[in-house]
Amino acid sequence: MIALLGIAFIALIAVIIAAGLISTFGGSLGLRKVANIGFVVFCVGGAVLALSALAAILASLLANGFGGINLAVFTQDTPAPGSTGGLRNAILGSIAMCLEGMVIAIFVGIAAGTWLAEYADRNNYTKTYGSIVRFVNDVLLSAPSILVGLFIYTVLVAKGIPVLSVVSLGHFSGIAGGVALSLLAVPVVTRTTEDVLRLQSRQLRESGVALGAPLWVTIRAILWKAAQGGMITGVLLAFARISGETAPLLFTALNNQFNGLNFKIEDAFGLNAPTANIPVVIFNFALSAYDDWRRLAWVGSLLIAAAVLGINILVRVLSAEQKRS
């Protein structure tokens, strides 16, 4: 099958090159029509190839993961090789760290987005500063997530590095994992917050001024309220993005065979220790030699893909409803 796909790919490239040559150097109507047919075939073929590859991924996810889902997955912790177990500690750990990351991201991202949209245009200095911050946000938005993991490792986990050891916790922890995830979520929230606030009309802002409200009350009670839907969309998208991230957790949260989470705030909810999470469990289990570990890795992948796709679909449904109302 792959060989066929490869041959099809090479054929498609040949067709596009031939079509490009004909269309560049002109030709009779017949030749142009033939070139165009080749192009249509290429585009349709490309779309079919892409969609079938992606369908194959989802299908194998369902085929390998769905059979492994049972109650034990949600009620038992990750097992030693050979014994039965589930993903309970990893699921709880992932949820806890994503929530931690989202709490940070919501505060920082909404504040930063608000500054960019409402305060940055005041004078030339803030304008320049705003464009720098916007650029930095764009870079952070697509920065390799493994570098974010390295950064948080050197700041919050490592002991031996001078200067940075002041704030370091000195060990792998769920706290560090959550902070790493928040760094990936903040740019998404900042970006969408700025974009939706900029969409709000001038009249809306003036209405706050006309009532004699201070700027911050105008922003909080009028602009945030009007932009609510878009901001929730941004938060959900950020949540979807971080819930599948593996690389930043590999050496911040590490992994844990047990569930250390609790509801004691003085214990930092149990996050001040290495914390299990689904992506790292998938990574470790998939590369292992044990069949039951691999089975759990498939189940974990299915759960994560379902969660991410579910959130994305929810976002679409929500924003479609907003457009209607």
């Binding site: 792959i2 585009c43 779309a47 570098l147 390295l150 490792y153």
Partner: protein
């Protein structure tokens, strides 16, 4: 919050006016927002500075040979990063080469040829797939793609010798540059590039489709009006119209491919040193860090890995900066 004044403590009427209550909080609110924006700046500079500090011992000890040497030996603590650096560039480039034509094809299909009723569902499907976490692509690559690739491509190729009429030059090129030290186990530079290509394809297709949709209908229709075929409309109107932003979008895809970790780590083979051919095992910066960092024992090993991270940061920063400059006012996500 600031202290409440006497008239604010008094009983309020039911309808609270939005009066200048809390006007003194205004500067504080502005300061908080400004501080959050500054935090972003601090984060990026902190990221860069911490990578420099963490990687400094390696840069100081190995100097330029860190970039040119391919010896990576944690036991004798000799580290040269040329293998992973070259591996990163090759996989990213090959994956772009594979996915870009298909991404353009998908985007053109969705904007020109697709039946109207199917446009939205297929467009949404492509966008949804752009959000699937990379570890899922990695799982598929490891368990489904790699065995098929080994059986159907690598095994036949490992016994195939180029026919003699192609000459000795081709035979040398074939065995040195393409085949390398092929072991038919489904992993290697090309296998990793294919998985990367599958991964960045939905992202690039979705972005290019958005760009193609910004071409004014009038411009496209006028091209059809003078008798252009769809191919000519695309090559002489649509693509030139969005050229700048399209290159920016491609650079964003390249940025993703450069920094991608999980999908590559599963399947690249993870052997250090310069890859000997497209089918040889190799490593990228991200896969090396992912594999070795948590188990690095020596201080120099950790420093060398962080130094590699800094190199990756410089490469992706340059690519992203160009992408952003080209995308300009369009500001595609």
């Amino acid at each position: 919050m600031t202290a409440l004044s006497a008239d604010q403590m008094a009983p309020q009427p039911d309808r609270k006016p939005l009066k200048s209550r809390g006007a003194s909080f205004d500067p504080i609110f502005g300061f908080i927002c400004g501080a959050a924006a500054t935090l972003l700046l601090v984060t990026l500079s902190g990221l860069m500075v911490s990578l420099v500090i963490g990687g400094w011992p390696a840069f100081a000890k190995f100097g330029l040979s860190f970039f040119t040497s391919t010896r990576w030996n944690p036991v004798t603590e000799v580290f040269g990063g040329a293998g992973p650096i070259i591996g990163t560039l090759i996989t990213a480039f090959v994956s772009l080469l594979l996915s870009l034509p298909i991404a353009i094809g998908v985007a053109v299909f969705l904007t020109e040829f697709c039946p109207q009723q199917l446009r939205r569902p297929i467009g949404v499907a492509v966008e949804l797939l752009a959000g699937v976490p990379s570890i899922v692509y990695g799982m598929w690559g490891l368990f489904v793609f790699a065995p098929l690739f080994a059986q159907l491509v690598e095994t036949p190729l490992s016994v195939w010798t180029p026919p003699t009429f192609l000459g000795k030059g081709f035979a040398d090129f074939w065995s040195n540059t393409v085949i390398g030290d092929l072991v038919p186990n489904g992993s290697g530079i090309l296998a990793a590039s294919i998985i990367l290509a599958v991964m960045i394809l939905p992202f690039m297709a979705a972005t290019l489709r958005e760009l193609f949709l910004t071409v004014p209908t009038k411009v496209r229709e006028s091209a059809y009006g003078v008798g252009c075929t769809p191919l000519e409309v695309v090559t002489s109107v649509t693509i030139p119209y969005v050229r700048r932003s399209a290159i920016g979008a491609v650079m964003l895809g390249l940025g993703r491919a450069l920094g991608e970790t999980m999908a590559v780590t599963f399947i690249i083979g993870n052997s250090h040193g310069l890859p000997k051919g497209l089918f040889s095992g190799g490593s990228t910066i991200a896969s090396t860090i992912a594999n070795e960092f948590a188990e690095a024992t020596g201080e120099m090993h950790t420093a060398a890995l962080i130094a590699l991270g800094f190199v990756l940061f410089l490469i992706t920063f340059a690519v992203l900066a160009i992408a952003r400059a080209l995308l300009g006012a369009q500001r595609q996500a």
